[in-house]
């Protein structure tokens, strides 16, 4: 009986450990030019010329709508000197509301784009962030716009 209890506890601990190490199970049909870091626990991808994409989630605290957080991110980055290049709200293929705001900023000797796509899922805000030099980002921008329509946070 004692051995059985220990075995169950061990299995539960292993499951918990496995769950923690796997991280979020986001899915997205990324453009062909993006390659995913398969071994990483994070959902991150990169193109050959260095445009990077990463998804993560933060607490939806204080609890607010997608519109609220889109506005807050825009204002926060504008206050830091970022320029809003474009803003677009959409529905994913699964019917989830999302908004993408692209920001432009000087970074080193180049001008870079930081793209923030946001989804609000209950108590979480899921962010799909992309960054790269303007000229390289511009080339994949359209494909990226289509790709985020396939994003599923699977929360």
């Amino acid at each position: 009986m004692k051995i059985m209890k220990r075995t169950i506890l061990l299995i539960l601990a292993l499951i918990a450990l496995l769950a923690l190490s796997c991280g979020p199970s986001y899915t997205m049909k990324a453009p062909d030019s993006f390659k995913r870091f398969e071994k990483s626990n994070d959902f991150k991808m990169i193109t050959a010329d260095g445009v990077m994409l990463k998804a993560r989630e933060v607490d939806n605290y204080p609890e607010a709508s997608l519109e609220f957080w889109t506005d807050a991110v825009s204002q926060h980055l504008e206050a830091q000197g970022y320029l809003v290049q474009s803003e677009k709200c959409f529905k994913t293929e699964k019917g989830l509301d999302g908004c993408t705001v692209n920001f432009l900023l000087p970074h080193g000797a180049q001008d870079w784009v930081l793209s923030e796509t946001m989804f609000v899922v209950d108590d979480k805000v899921v962010l799909v962030e992309t960054a790269g030099p303007f000229d390289r980002f511009a080339v994949i921008e359209e494909d990226l716009g289509k790709a985020v329509l396939t994003f599923n946070p699977n929360l």
Partner: protein, 228 residues
């Protein structure tokens, strides 16, 4: 005697530091070179410096235009400017400055906007009418004084002639300075300037600002690159 009094007053007005000799006026033997130069150029230039009617406005438009290939964009913009009678005044890797006729500025801005993504745009408009009128007034009065001084040579002795010549030289220098200012002001009114940058001019524009929403402090490029 009356002429001498006027001469004293005039020279004192133009150059208070000049003190006239008390000698009896004597005829100048030769006319100074400065008067001949001035006489030769004055008539032609007076016509050129005649006041121009209407408002004189300086227009400067600035644009941050993001394009994938700045070299191609520069070529197209220079060609488009030439089509409307304009020309580039500065061309670098990161920017191009164009001078175009003021009436064609809007059209040129529209053409430029089609070449890429307009991220920032601003326009400065300055009325130069008063500045130009003032310069024209200064020029006119200085020329009048110069013309009057020229008339005093006949009744002056050598010493007085030398002093008049010095005063006239100073006056000519001033006239040239005013003419230069006037030329610049008129050129600013004649051409609208379009400054197109393909990159941020202010490279250090990013400053850290703390947000009351905790997670927003992790939304920025530096954090993204650090965590990637």
């Amino acid at each position: 005697m009356k002429r001498i009094t006027i001469l004293v007053a005039l020279i004192a007005l133009v150059s208070p530091s000049v003190v006239l000799a008390q000698d009896k006026p004597a005829k100048a033997e030769t006319k100074p070179a400065v008067t001949e130069e001035v006489a030769a150029t004055d008539t032609a230039e007076e016509k050129k410096d005649e006041p121009v009617d209407g408002r004189q406005t300086a227009l400067v438009s600035r644009m941050l235009l993001k394009v994938i290939n700045p070299a191609d964009a520069r070529t197209v913009l220079a060609q488009e400017a030439a089509k409307i009678g304009g020309f580039p005044i500065l061309v670098t890797d990161a920017e191009i400055y164009l001078k175009v006729p003021p009436r064609k500025m809007s059209a040129m801005l529209e053409v430029a906007a089609k070449e890429g993504l307009v991220v920032e745009k601003s326009m400065d408009r300055k009325d130069l009418t008063q500045e130009i009128s003032q310069l024209e007034g200064q020029l006119k009065s200085k020329r009048k004084i110069l013309a009057k001084l020229r008339g005093f040579f006949d009744d002056s002795n050598v010493q007085a002639t030398l002093r008049i010549e010095q005063t006239m030289t100073d006056l000519v220098t001033e006239i040239e300075r005013v003419k230069g200012q006037l030329r610049v002001a008129r050129d600013r009114a004649k051409w609208a300037v379009i400054e197109i940058s393909f990159e941020f001019r202010q490279r250090d524009r990013i400053i850290y600002v703390n947000s009351p929403f905790e997670w927003l402090n992790t939304v920025n490029l530096d954090h993204f690159l650090e965590e990637f």
